[in-house]
Point group: D2
Chain length 362, copies 4
């Protein structure tokens, strides 16, 4: 009950700190019989490190998850699927001088209020390092979903005030993968790069928005009332570091629309009825409609900035604080992989709850 276990049926337990020896995850409930593609797993980890230099932290994380439980002769066994990721680059010294301050808008302040303690070596459990476990677990879930023809594509929709326009569902996964910023829009990406460059010069940071499409989810997934598919997706997304908002389908924009405008009428097809439009974002009444699921996640600007801030130190005296060390200018390109991973966990969980993926052996 301390927040390190996620999911209903397929449950991820996460452990480890940013500056401990390792981090890891345990997936309980993963069915037997899936051949794990170890290369694809390693590749998925790379997605979390898109920036080959410029705007992400230089920390060297090769981040290859070692599967230590639940796989025999390359296949899952039904035992807990566990992995560890060794921390290779522990430089706690960077953080020592920060001990006189709580960094503004950083978790240290509230975690101290809770535990009388926060790990000075880079955030401990509140560090974004923890999201590597999510990405690994999500990649394993995505391999399971792929067997059921479900695919997920998250992408950078907005960085700072630069936002891409796109037709519903028309995001191309290959373009996302090729873009260092995970932005599939060839016009917007250079602008985003210029913005990030300027911010870096200025020692400042920015926020942004990640979008995500899920294709292939059959109709009938999700539970009524409290465990609606969008509720579990929202929880998953809002549990990611720096996430500030979630919406799906037309989302916040739906608030200003009329029913006659927002409703998705039905059309007859050879396979029966289906909605002709998808303002709903693939979910009605908490349950999937069979259409693409679409949602967005807003992220705040990175709180650790080198630009000097006027803030009280722990003794209450206002002083200038300039945070050194390695920090992203914008978390969004990295967060794309985390959003995709968490979505994979939620969808795999609900596929299992609904019995569409068997519990014991696939």
């Amino acid at each position: 009950m301390a927040g390190n276990i996620f999911g209903h049926f397929l449950r991820l337990t996460s452990f480890g700190e940013s500056h401990g020896p390792l981090i890891g995850g345990v997936l309980d409930g993963f069915p037997a019989g899936l051949e794990i593609d170890v290369k694809a797993l390693a590749l998925a980890m790379e997605k979390r490190r898109p920036g080959k230099g410029a705007f992400q932290t230089a920390r060297n994380e090769s981040d290859i998850p070692e599967l230590v439980s639940g796989v025999y002769q390359g296949k899952t066994t039904g035992a807990p699927l566990a992995f560890i990721i060794r921390n290779q680059d522990q430089r706690p010294a960077d953080y020592d001088k920060l001990e006189q301050f709580y960094r503004p808008s950083h978790a240290g302040y509230s975690w101290d209020a809770k535990f009388g303690f926060h790990d000075p070596r880079g955030g401990g459990r509140s560090s974004a390092r923890e999201t590597a476990v999510r990405v690994a677990a999500g990649a394993l879930a995505a391999q399971l979903l792929a067997k059921y023809d479900i695919s997920l594509t998250a992408f950078t929709e907005q960085i700072g005030n630069i936002r891409i326009d796109y037709a519903n569902s028309a995001i191309d996964a290959a373009s996302v993968a090729e873009s260092p910023l995970r932005c599939p829009d060839a016009t917007a990406e250079p602008e985003m790069n210029r913005l990030l460059d300027a911010l870096k010069q200025d020692g400042d940071s920015t926020g942004g928005v990640v979008g995500c499409f899920i294709k292939g989810v059959p109709a009938g997934i999700g539970e009524p009332v409290f465990d609606r598919l969008q509720a579990d997706l929202a929880k998953a997304m809002m549990s990611i570091n720096a996430a500030k908002g979630f919406d799906y389908g037309d989302g916040f924009a739906a608030a200003a629309k009329r029913g006659s405008e927002h409703n998705d009428p039905f059309t007859g097809t050879e396979n029966g009825l289906r909605p002709a439009t998808n303002h709903a974002g693939g979910i009605l009444g908490g349950i999937s409609t069979g259409e693409d699921i679409f949602f967005r996640v807003a992220f705040k600007p990175v709180s650790s900035i080198s630009k000097p801030q006027q803030t009280a130190d722990k003794s209450g005296v206002v002083r200038e604080l300039a945070i050194g060390g390695r920090h992203d200018v914008c978390i969004v390109p990295r967060a794309v992989a985390v959003v995709e991973a968490m979505a994979a966990l939620v969808i795999a969980d609900h596929m299992m709850i609904s019995g569409r993926i068997p519990r014991n052996i696939i």
Copy 2:
């Protein structure tokens, strides 16, 4: 695992359908020793029925929850706190003619895909009737929270394209209570009324946004990583019928901001440090800071409209559908009470998880 139980420590089980004999809820984990204010409970139920006429459905729901378990001589006993609310106004006949269609953007379509069935008598469990249970349970949680000086105020922030501006935390609970639209802004409310009037004439509907402030939550509430306070709030809100988006603090607006602009510097006070501003919305790293918690929930326009829609009937033939019966023009004024109730459940749950409210007896 079918989505009718909510919460970690303080758990609400919800049951009953819109056109069955009754609906009800069971709060497991509610501590012993709280004197229940039955009048306040009845009053809270009224909040869900703000519109004395114009823009909400005319359905007569006196909605007095009968406490059937967990109270002895006016005080809670530690036994499950259970209540039932009788359905007094069952008119399934309204819905019979709709059986040839799935209503566009209504849960009937996806629920049929799941259960091979949906209750034609007004939605069953997918009906907004179910939210009466949430409001009753939330009112009980709010009475518990009041003992710990925690108060919640939800309000109408936006209806259609009419939106109020307000300074952070400056919403007056009394103004909200007095407004039939739950809108504390004396300028905006008449505009909203005019909009709703026009839509009603047109047989159309609109969406909107509910805001909510929570005051008095001590620092240190919420769990790291997956059960962050904002994650549980997001899940709670996105489980409400018609909710399409959630954000907190600066929310989606934070995406376009710079770190230097969004960060909340600390200031020294006689009681120690506290953030000088509250862009964070009262939560850092998933854990409360002691500042006001603030979040917003977007709602889509009501899908049942009397304005004719072109949509395929169940045989696949596109026909004109005009939905009669009682339907809100905008759900937002009603949703205010539901948002407040769900927030109360989440905060009470986390107060108990953190041990700030004792499990056994207060």
Copy 3:
């Protein structure tokens, strides 16, 4: 987290007190599509009241569960399957004079330590009245299991020092049903009757043992490590009032056996291998083998006796206490139905976890 919700996937929420207006239960996760046999449900409730007079309390409980949620036109809908049972015979007056004492070996003492309170009107939630909810819920689960050819038969194995011998699996369900003591042994039953008669004269009580066979469970049900089938059965049984012990297969007797004696060798059949004997009791490594599951539950003597006891009153003075009112001489004949019901819930839960009973619609 307060103990009133049972199960992993199929979850029972129980509420209500012995002397409140009603008790009830909510089964969340029950699949859609089962035609409920209301008569069989009423009959199952009768099983909890086997003694037409002599050795059970005279309380008049007609105990017909009213289905208030989750059933439409006679079939389950996938919505929470909820029922209420009205309390018809509230005589709190019986208990008033007991308020000067804690009854020896009664829950009042420990519940007061927890909640600062116990319901003087007959035990509240600690009353055996609460088991009526379990029996109703278990009867619904048993109807579901019957569709999958799984049957359960609990019976009286021992009352006081009178114990029946029986060959493994050779209990006849019809003989159990006909026996007022739920004892299928025509020799032992009259002896048990004589013992109970003598104890009644003496104002005393006795304990006993309930056995239970479950037939038709397919191989492969149950989860490794912590949620082994026997672990969940043990929890279910030890949660019943007055239960003091649980064992399965050869149980405690296995402790004195040799491996060569206790092992079940395999034999080849036309349907493949199966164990030639069943010392295991139908479960190996926590997972069903396909053989009959067999377990036993020991019950302590009823603590409320009219025979005078020397015990300290609440002021600490030792006085004579003679407890009047209606009390069973032996709980075992009633407990048979409760054991069967709890077993049905556990097996249905694990059938659903393993996907053998579909989640959404059968």
Copy 4:
């Protein structure tokens, strides 16, 4: 939902297989602020390996848990308390020849039915190797409980037909620790040794019973109805490999007793009332009374025996099977540590649920 997570509030996730690279555990919910005694942890692991030779398997398991998360500068941080234990002695070759058979009364048969697979290298997750994780986690929980003056002592009560008599609560922890068989009775132990010696000669095995006392648990721990303290203890114990029965207080013997004999009258003390006797075993109505908690766990004889068995091989032909390799003659002396560990987890969990051990920081 696959059985590898245990507990309500303090939750243990277990992972790893007997012949993989490592096994491990994650304790979520462990409070911050406990100084971990690493030496005591290592010592506790030794308890699981009591027989320095004779009757336990010769497998060399140094079994030092490495704390990889949740500890900083020797103290717990509130982050998940995770540890790994490397497997140092992987000899899968021993098991290869067994692949033609299902071993009688071994989990391989039922696990294959579930997962279409079982790990031939010594049982995988069904191996007793998994219990090392429980012992490590339980030792950490016991260190937490010691801060609250709660101690646990499990011991060998019976091996085969040799059983010790002891007055309630009069077991001496030091005598248990000194005995290689974990049997505090100087008369019975040599007899047990002789029995084990004879069985070893004979290539056979035997079962036994472990008793356990818990001292210092305050009154008021445990939850009503389903999560009674004895129900959670029963589940914990019946989840241990080879456990066949559980009882507490007078247990199965209570079945033959009269109420007047079994009831515990109250006596007045300077600290208020308390039961004068403890037939109840320290729990009434599911909630602790403040008296010693006492329970027993029966274990079956080890199923892997070198004595030849007539059993069908996987093709259905009955052949002689003689199982070589390292196997205990009796699991009981090892199981003592596992019983103690699981009890520590249950008590710590309920101490936290009841708020007697704080959630955030001790």
